[in-house]
């Protein structure tokens, strides 16, 4: 991680670059998820409308979201750039951003934390080996102190106001999408990006910080649910279980448990990548889920991470549980239905000569047919076809999967 802030240019394509930047953003947030959960629980329990209203304990809510969480993010961002010294100056600089802002400065922290650490790194590189013996500690402490002060001032006067405006503008953009009932269309972008392993980047890098700003103001935000809804993935997996390639089906229940209860969504991405048109099922499911969330006017207090049903229930504010569950159930149902249609209700299987034992020819033909008949979904998203093009085994290995599928399946015991 240390080098990824100023990565040497690798010619590895747009997807890798976007992934890398996204991972850098998410990498500042994800190690701190535990603190977000603590804040989410405190909020859900102790605020006036919570389960156990308590005025004294509710005093924790604002300082934690305003100071602690952004500072942790700035600290972690600094650490990834320049180790412990980077972490410290990242925290100092973040303080400059926080003070004088009336919204939680997550985006600002993600910006200034690594930036401050980068400045310090350059300075340290400059002075390296030039310090007289015995003066190292003096120089190191004061270089961090002085640069930290400078970055805090810069944050207070320049970066803070800019980021405030940007965050507010983005928030208003989202509000506009909500008001005009076109938020469900977000799924058209989110679901394909998700299965290309941009899930953390989208959720923790973009939606989470915006969601927190809204959640602090109104007590909840729908933005936390756009990417994390486990419904669409569950529907896709169920469709595979009933109508997918026959020899692949035994792997599905364990995957569904890990996905829905364990919250590791990555487990269902391969099932979409091997039949790219299945992304349509996920999009339909995600979109209808958002529609229900909007109609029921529900949201979450904080990011459910991992995207497990348990995490969902624990960050759902009081009174919103029914709407949240309904949205998840409906998105699972819709994506199951669309997925089943796309899989031809298993008909594609039966059309083939029934393979007896290990006769993968039927499956091979099916995969071939499906990739041929799915130019729309594959072509619509260049990156998807890129994904399968660059790893020819995406389709090639499918017939092989079933053989290996049922046999090892260690995860059955895992779950």
């Amino acid at each position: 991680m240390a080098e990824s802030y100023t990565p040497p240019v690798h010619g590895t394509g747009l997807r890798a670059t976007v992934q890398k930047f996204g991972a850098f953003l998410a990498g500042m947030v994800m190690p701190n998820i535990g603190a977000f959960i603590a804040w989410g629980l405190i909020t859900a329990l102790f605020i006036e409308t919570g389960w156990l209203p308590n005025e004294e304990l509710a005093e924790l809510v604002n300082p934690t979201i305003t100071y602690l969480l952004p500072i942790l993010i700035g600290y972690t961002g600094g650490r990834t750039v320049h180790g412990q010294r980077g972490a410290v100056i990242g925290a100092v600089a973040t303080m400059g951003i926080i003070v004088g802002s009336d919204i939680p400065m997550f985006l600002g922290a993600m910006l200034i934390g690594p930036l401050a650490a980068f400045v310090l790194k350059q300075f340290d590189r400059l002075t390296n080996d030039r310090i007289r013996p015995g003066f190292e500690m003096l120089v190191e402490n004061f270089s961090l102190g002085i640069l930290g002060m400078g970055m805090a001032v810069l944050g207070r006067w320049v970066i803070g106001p800019v980021v405030s405006n940007v965050t507010e503008a983005l928030g208003e953009g989202v509000e506009w999408l909500v008001d005009n009932d076109i938020l469900p269309i977000a799924s058209v972008i989110i679901e394909p990006a998700k299965v290309l392993f941009l899930n953390n980047a989208i959720n923790h890098g973009v939606l989470g910080p915006l969601g927190v700003a809204e959640s602090v103001e109104t007590g909840k935000s729908i933005l936390f649910m756009l990417e994390t809804n486990p419904g669409p993935g569950l529907g896709v997996l169920l469709a595979y279980f009933l109508f997918g390639p026959r020899l692949l089906r035994p792997t599905v229940p364990a995957a569904a448990i890990i996905h829905f209860l364990g919250g590791i969504h990555e487990i269902y991405f391969p099932y979409i990548l091997m039949k790219p048109r299945m992304i349509l099922a996920a999009i339909a499911g995600g979109g209808s889920g958002i529609l229900v969330f909007l109609a029921a006017d529900v949201g979450l207090v904080s990011t459910p991470s991992p995207g497990s049903i348990f995490a969902y229930m624990s960050v759902t504010p009081r009174g919103n549980h029914l709407g949240v569950l309904a949205g998840i159930a409906i998105s699972a149902g819709v994506s199951f239905l669309v997925g089943s249609v796309l899989l031809g209700f298993g008909r594609l299987e039966k059309d083939q000569p029934e393979p007896d034992e290990g006769g993968a020819s039927g499956v091979t033909a099916d995969v071939g047919a499906s990739s041929a008949s799915a130019p729309v979904s594959a072509g619509a998203d260049g990156a998807v076809s890129h994904a399968s093009a660059q790893s020819p085994s995406t389709t090639d290995s499918t017939p092989g999967l079933p053989k290996a599928g049922p046999a090892p399946r260690p995860a059955g015991s895992e779950a």
Binding site: A23, M30, P31, F197, T251, E266
Partner: protein
């Protein structure tokens, strides 16, 4: 494509985007299967794979990034997280001290 001698594998690193989710899951499966083989299995974010890894396991969708950060390491790319043939091959090769194409 390169053939490596599985007898020389001391440490397998499973990498995923954040190093917190799917890699942990896959690593714990591998660890269970290779318990008696004397091989260390770790997990890490794609961006900070430990330098002493002998083999890196990751999803095919992340292989580009792993390769760009670790150009000299053999990479086993998986398609699915449960029972992927590539993982099965790796486990078999390590157990039999055989060789494996990666």
């Amino acid at each position: 494509m390169a053939t490596i001698n599985a007898a020389e594998i001391r440490k397998i690193v499973v990498a995923c985007d954040a190093g917190m989710g799917s890699s942990v899951m896959l690593a714990s499966q591998l660890r269970k299967q290779l318990r008696k083989a004397g091989v260390t299995v770790e997990h890490s974010p794609v961006a900070s794979v430990p330098a002493d890894a002998d083999v890196i396991v990751c999803h095919a969708g992340l292989a580009d990034r792993v390769r760009s950060g670790n150009p000299d390491k053999p990479i086993v790319a998986v398609q699915v997280f449960l029972g992927d043939p590539a993982v099965t091959r790796l486990v078999a090769a390590v157990k039999d001290r055989g060789s494996i194409d990666v």
